[in-house]
Symmetry: D2
Subunit: 350 residues, 4 copies
């Protein structure tokens, strides 16, 4: 169950960082739609290491091969499988951590759960797994676009520095994938400073779905926000999620937080587009907190599999701020969750 997300639009992923290949299966994509490969490649490229000068310098290629479900470029209704080969990964880089738990990583918890772990580059919990989400997310966005819905995400805070004001005009054509804001340069400097210090830094990603329709989501357990939260928190390194006024609502009065209506529309959107778990038609607004990259070269104390204390300094080139590249993954997971809700809504409109 671990590796499948969704009910009617379903993504199942497979693959480890240094295994033969990674990929997935999108089941439930409607028939008769010309697949937009440019969108897929563009989203996967945005996730790829080296896509921004602020990321890791490791070079990956990651061209997905479609194995099924598409004939002459058009979906047939059958499951769309895809795979990306892992090539030229030098596992020996990881030899020294084969039996040592990197702080902040899943190394210890995997070992405790399975008694075995693929330690090469994070194995199953590697960020590389998210390339499959980007592939599927692009398909989901294509479906949503056919209904007039767009989903975009960008970075709005890095370290302690938050965007004080910004307009939402994606795509965000800067190295941070951030909406234009006065703090852009300061954020960038924060990332560079972390890199130079062998450290890393966290960030906040905002994701918006615009052109929404009312009626997505179900009233009780399958609330739109509940499912979106699961989707976003299923991304490694995300430690929190909020909708609309979010944690800020905890400090507000009802008279301020309630979204009043007049002239047939809402006068504000503290709800983030969702009331009682059902979309209102207003923009969905999600914010996700990404922790700082756990792989840092600063030495820290940890334990090996035999229980011995040992210092560790994680070598190799790692993103100093995963929030930047994770933004497209948040976008993908939000889109997958929404496409799934859209199909379920359609089931009842016959």
């Amino acid at each position: 169950m671990s590796s499948t997300f969704g009910r009617l639009f379903r993504l199942t992923t497979f693959g480890e960082s240094h295994g033969p290949a990674l990929g997935g299966i999108v089941d439930g994509f409607p028939a008769g739609i010309r697949i937009d490969m440019d969108r897929i490649l563009s989203d996967m490229s945005r996730r790829r290491p080296g896509s921004t000068s602020l990321g890791t310098k490791r070079s990956e290629d990651d061209i997905p091969r479609i194995l099924s479900g598409v004939m002459d470029g058009v979906s047939t209704g059958a499951p769309i499988a895809f795979a990306v080969e892992n090539k030229a990964q030098i596992s020996s880089h990881y030899d020294e951590i084969a039996h040592t738990f990197r702080p902040g990583h899943a190394d210890y918890s995997f070992w405790a759960k399975y008694g075995i772990r693929d330690w090469r580059g994070g194995g199953r919990s590697s960020g590389r797994e998210t390339l499959s989400r980007c592939f599927a997310g692009a398909l989901a966005k294509q479906l949503l676009a056919m209904k007039g819905i767009s989903v975009d995400a960008g970075v709005i805070a890095i370290g302690g520095i938050s965007a004080s004001s910004y307009s939402w005009e994606p795509p965000f054509a800067n190295e941070l994938y951030a909406p234009d804001c006065p703090e852009l340069e300061a954020m960038r400097a924060e990332v560079e400073k972390a890199r130079e210090g062998g450290d890393s830094v966290g960030g906040i990603i905002e994701c918006r779905a615009r052109g929404m329709v009312p009626g997505l989501g179900d009233p009780v357990f399958d609330k739109a926000d509940a499912i979106l939260a699961m989707a976003v928190l299923s991304i490694g390194g995300i430690k929190g999620v909020e909708f609309g006024s979010g944690f800020g609502a905890a400090a507000m009065k009802g008279s301020a937080n309630n979204d009043q209506m007049a002239g047939g529309r809402f006068l504000s959107n503290n709800a983030g587009g969702i009331l009682g778990g059902i979309t209102t038609g207003e923009d969905i607004i999600i914010r996700a907190a990404a922790k700082p990259t756990p792989s840092i070269s600063i030495s820290q104390m940890t334990m090996d599999e035999d229980g011995n204390d040992t210092p560790i300094s994680v070598r190799g080139r790692h993103d100093p701020c995963i929030a930047i590249r994770a933004s497209v993954v948040v976008e993908a997971m939000a889109a997958i969750a929404l496409a799934d809700m859209m199909l379920i809504k359609e089931a009842y409109s016959g």
Copy 2:
């Protein structure tokens, strides 16, 4: 799918605020366990309106009747169904809002989705639905207790006032269900002030699972935190959730946020007990943001079903701060999610 949560430990709920009855079915509860009715009644009582002097004065009784799955007080492995009768609800109180959308409520989104809505007391989206979660949560807590795990929740912030320091010693025997902290009196005053002003106020609930075992949760989509987030955000009025350092992690350096290990244990718990979606054995720490109660007597602008603007002042007695009574529901949903993960873990330990 809307009304079921869980994979092996499954709760399905039914019922509207002013319909004949509310209740649910717990499917997947193991056989041969003596049901702890005191725990069930105690949790349901804690959720009940009027359970605290700070809540609504409306009186409810809410004694659940077990309909199946239990013989001579012991579970048989069959689904445990239960129901609470709705009595003496005066629907006419709601007549004036039958065709008007209360701000901050699900009234508009339900109407837009279904074209029909049970407007009496919130219908399906009423907070009364959560009595079923408390029933099931008590069963889940009983299962977890057999493994040495306890789950508790309390209020740690109300309005802008946060507990500055507190030790975690549940149960929290005060009207706020809050851990003892210097700000307790100020928080209480904040609630009273909101009530007197015909307004309401938000709050933050913290939930901890202690005595944890490592290995709960799955590495990719069914991460422990992803499922817990869905569980908690499926509660009406919750607008955000975070784990461990949560949104705070976004402002931290990796060197500070990583939990180092020494002497066979973690030296900190910024991860909130979960790494890579899998529990580490450390306490799980969840925080949930509850918005201010949307029902306030202060007049606000809204719309009726015909699209006419109209002011509305919601009458009746409503909790000025739902975070207080919602804490036991957060506790319940976290326990249900963890009990489910525990059963799934057991499946692989044979």
Copy 3:
């Protein structure tokens, strides 16, 4: 998981034969539909013991109470819960079998699985559980009828006596719920003979869905026939299921079994309305084999919980041929499965 069936149209049942109540929750029924209570009561009545002079003489009342999901007689989109009280059951009738395994019953397998069992009247595995299926089946049939689809079932063989020729004109207004056929009287005599001898007899139920649309079911695991088979075999006492030419196809040549087409239609229906797991628009034809009622007064050898051999003669009034009353349950389960497939199909027609 045990007690839920369906993906979008979902039935969860609860209850034991001699517990407080039986019932269920139908989740995923569309909003805005006036519930046809007559159909529900009529189907439940057809299942009820004593509904035919050939059945058990035990009298049951079984008026379901709707607990949620319906307002002023119209569905709201919320889960429809219902319950039937168990009254005046005399459990002491079962005292002598409290610790002895009745041959052909689930007594032994329940005990081996759970270590505990509700022995009163079969507990969870009692045929009384199927009253919930009849309730939900009537709702499913109402949905299907809105699309022009009808689902009916009747008995076509009892003991070794098979209907040699019959036309399909439901409802089948005789005590066997059988289509009119030359063997009707012989079948009836077979049942009477079994009853008089303290024995029981098996039968075959045929179920047809007419007015079908093409395109229900999915090509691989969720084939229409696979899901219908699961639905029908989930009924206690059913030991086999076949579609169209069924087991007969095993003895046929391809040239005879293939359904040729001409003039825009199929010239035969050996496929039973399903090709490659997807409906063709032809009538769906299902046949289910019901075993003879295991409860017989003829003495048989069995074992008690301590492993001692003991003869047993099951007292009380039992149907000599469960196929008769089971026909409406087959109808219900087929309808539920088809309604679920119909909703899933709608999801992709947007």
Copy 4:
């Protein structure tokens, strides 16, 4: 949902007959188990065309490549993905049927459902899809073997010729994969006769699980037989399934069909190892009816996509009796279903 089977042991398949590749993902396979590749290759080989002189002469290679979930030959708990490349398929063989519906095939129903179909070699509904089931079935059998359970299937009837008596001593080392019986030669002749006449013939497959444990399966909808029936009927060309005395029970008296007990064991196994949906520990006995191969060279009438009548004679080499090669697929699906039930049972034995 269409392409996934199972709850804890889950198989998702992908691929078309003439697309780039076929394969699947097995999710939920426990960690730390050395994968038995010989068993996988042997099962896949048994399914492969040309594996028996009675099958099609088409040559396929079908060596699966494992893409994930296995490190140094040992499972890691991560999903095991695998793929088989489709090479040198000559699609032009199928040009003439690109717009014509072959009788007995899924061509028409696919076209009616999706409005598009991959007509090359059957596309998604090709029997080649079952190679993925054989791969996963071998893994499931390995898991079951660790609990002492074996699953085997063989052919017991072809055309109208049934094995009159046989002992169950797998593997069945003859070209029919049939248990040794007096009719073996006659069955073989029946296949040859069909082939020579450009026709095909149906058959019956029996599958037994031995070394069973009691307690698999759930009492209501997820009955062991219901799930096994879905598993087996999800195989293309299977038109019926029965357990134990099966359809024969419909002609029996209860006194004969009930399995009596003495000396701590059952005296017969008419139940086929399942009572009330729960395994008893006796052998599970399943029989499946396979229809005759629809692809025959005898000319038949059909329709093209424009609604024109047209005769068709399906060229190419096709198995005259798919029951033979389908036996290993029945074995695989039964094993997958049982492995899934076994994991669910383990969840409750902690």
